[in-house]
């Protein structure tokens, strides 16, 4: 086991890692920028080092400074948390070159999974379903255009290669619309990105975002844990996560879990990671991407399995064996996580940094709160707006929702705006309560547009 771990992060995840280290009897070093001197992770750690000014580029992303901090503090491992340098291949490489253990997968795994095209090719070889598509540019006069679209199966979507933000996209429901849609998308792509290239893939209707937690050890053993449903998103940012998913049957869980396991094994994955899938109404699932780090929503999995994922991640990085089999995991209930952000939900989610006055965070049966804020703490405007994660565990989904509802009503954060009222609306929404919701839930049922 490591003697001393440096946490190359801030906020709630830094506190979470420090707690795990403390339980393992490992000393901790917090790094911080000069505006984060009063942050909770600095107070919790055994030791703290200021690595730079407020700008993340010069502090939390400043590799030479962070490595120097590990050097002068005598840390033998670095935990990157999520965000910042967590999926930075170069950083993992530098750690290795300096003889410091990077608590995460090997740099090759990060590299392979970080590049979408490489990852998709690998997944195909490993027999993991990927979204069927043209695997390259298409044109209206391609000889095999119609047969390709037929093979993929309608509806298909035409997307700009250089795309983003919905520009140069066309959904095609029938062969008669295909040629025209390609021409339109090409014109739009040329105007938006100066690149007319478009490709075709299957259009997933009302997709659900379902992900599987995977763990791997140095001896080639890989396991998966029950899925997390992260379909409630705003602009591709997850807001609510739950486990298990109301959409997934135990048969589908086994099938998807096995695919996730194969995905991780294909890159000889070590420590913890997440395989993300898109699932359609009929239960067809497609590999989307793999996150090679611990995730924000890891607590829902911890709550329903009783496994401490962060401790497990540190143990696996230290070379220990994976201690369980996927088949033996029992689901202990239903868990939901709400991400409370310092944003104003009434003003298009504008960031709301500032000083917190009175603060009351919920408690009671089945409630866990992961946070780094306290009364009198000033939220700096330079970083992520996540201020607390409220996690509720219930015997079933209904109890978890009721528990979360009452916990959200207890939240009191003076001095800044926060998103707990929005989460309250989601918990009482009849569509949400009825069951699994797709990624269009927020605009459709909460914002009413």
């Amino acid at each position: 086991m490591f003697k001393k771990v440096l946490i190359a992060n801030r906020g709630e995840i830094a506190c979470r890692v420090i707690r795990a280290c403390r339980e393992l009897g490992v000393k901790t070093v917090a790094i911080h920028s000069d505006v984060d001197r009063e942050s909770m992770h600095v107070k919790l750690a055994d030791q703290s080092i200021c690595v730079g000014p407020a700008s993340a580029t010069e502090s939390y992303l400043n590799i030479p400074s962070i490595i120097a901090a590990a050097e002068i503090s005598g840390a033998d491992a670095i935990h990157p948390g999520y965000g910042f340098l967590a999926e930075n291949t170069y950083f993992a490489e530098v750690c290795e070159a300096c003889g410091i253990k990077f608590i995460g997968p090997d740099k090759e795994s990060i590299e392979k999974m970080g590049d979408k095209i490489t990852a998709i090719e690998l997944m195909k070889k490993a027999g993991v379903p990927v979204v069927p598509g043209s695997n390259g540019p298409v044109n209206a006069d391609d000889a095999k255009l119609f047969s390709l679209a037929k093979k993929i199966g309608y509806p298909v979507i035409i997307k700009a290669t250089a795309g983003g933000g919905g520009k140069g996209m066309r959904i095609v429901n029938a062969e008669s619309e295909l040629k025209n849609a390609i021409a339109m998308a090409q014109a739009e792509a040329k105007a938006s990105f100066s690149n007319p290239e478009v490709y075709m893939e299957k259009y997933i209707e009302e997709p659900h975002h379902i992900e599987f937690q995977v763990l791997g050890d140095r001896f080639g053993k890989v396991a998966y844990l029950p899925e997390r449903d992260c379909s409630i998103q705003r602009r591709h940012q997850k807001l609510v996560e739950e486990s298990p998913s109301p959409l997934i049957s135990s048969a589908l869980r086994k099938k998807m879990g096995k695919a996730a396991k194969n995905a991780a094994a294909a890159v000889k994955y070590v420590t913890v990671g997440t395989v993300e899938f898109l699932v359609d109404k009929k239960g067809h699932f497609y590999f989307m991407e793999m996150n090679t780090r611990i995730q924000v929503e890891h607590p829902v999995t911890e709550m329903i399995t009783g496994i401490d994922l962060v401790k497990e991640q540190i143990r696996l990085a230290a070379g220990e064996k994976l201690s369980f089999n996927s088949e033996k995991i029992k689901i202990l209930g239903h868990a939901i996580e709400c991400r409370i952000n310092a944003e104003d939900p009434d003003k298009d989610f504008i960031a709301s940094p500032g000083k917190i006055g009175k603060l009351y965070l919920p408690g009671g049966p089945g409630i866990r709160v992961d946070t780094h804020v306290y009364s009198g703490y000033t939220i700096p405007p330079f970083y992520d707006s996540l201020i607390a994660k409220v996690i509720a565990l219930g015997a079933d989904r209904e109890e978890a929702i009721d528990r979360m509802s009452r916990a959200l009503r207890e939240v009191e954060i003076e001095g800044i705006k926060n998103t707990s009222s929005l989460h309250g609306k989601i918990m009482t929404n009849e569509h949400y309560r009825k069951g699994s919701v797709a990624t269009d839930f927020l605009p459709k049922y909460i914002f009413g547009r």
């Binding site: 000069d34 080092i49 200021c50 690595v51 730079g52 000014p53 502090s59 030479p64 400074s65 490595i67 120097a68 901090a69 050097e71 002068i72 503090s73 300096c98």
Partner: protein, 139 residues
């Protein structure tokens, strides 16, 4: 106009019935207006001016801080001339080194003056922004 002059100026204005004046001397200009509400604010203005003076006096002491994380080595440009209390420094003068990841970076003074305090020991670990020396720039 230095803070002492401003202070004296405000004091003398306060003692008159003048409600508004504009004063110009060379490149210095000062505009002053007493409104009914601010009539009693003159003492506050005086206190502010006094604070400016106090800060002015304090600010002759300048800290040389570490721009990086690492191990501090008290080495002057010449090994025999380790910077200590009483050493004279000027802009560009090397006052020490910080070593991190086997890379050595010089610490250079930006000010002219006399070192009044050496804040870290040779071989100590330092963080970003940590005070290394205090320099009195009035000497």
């Amino acid at each position: 106009m230095n803070p002492q002059e401003i202070k004296a100026f405000l004091k003398s204005v306060k003692e008159t019935d003048i409600e508004e004046l504009e004063y110009q001397s060379g490149e210095d200009s000062l505009y002053f207006k007493k409104s009914a509400a601010e009539f009693d604010a003159a003492p506050a203005a005086q206190a502010a001016a006094e604070q400016v003076v106090a800060e002015e006096e304090k600010s002759s002491i300048v800290a040389i801080t570490s721009a990086t994380v690492g191990t501090f080595h008290a080495a002057g440009s010449d090994k025999s001339q380790v910077i200590k209390e009483g050493s004279s420094v000027e802009p560009g003068k090397k006052v020490g080194q910080i070593e991190a990841m086997k890379i050595i970076k010089d610490v250079v003074s930006k000010v002219k003056g006399k070192v009044v305090k050496v804040s870290v020991a040779n071989g100590a670990s330092v963080e970003y922004g940590q005070e290394l020396f205090l320099v009195d720039t009035s000497k």
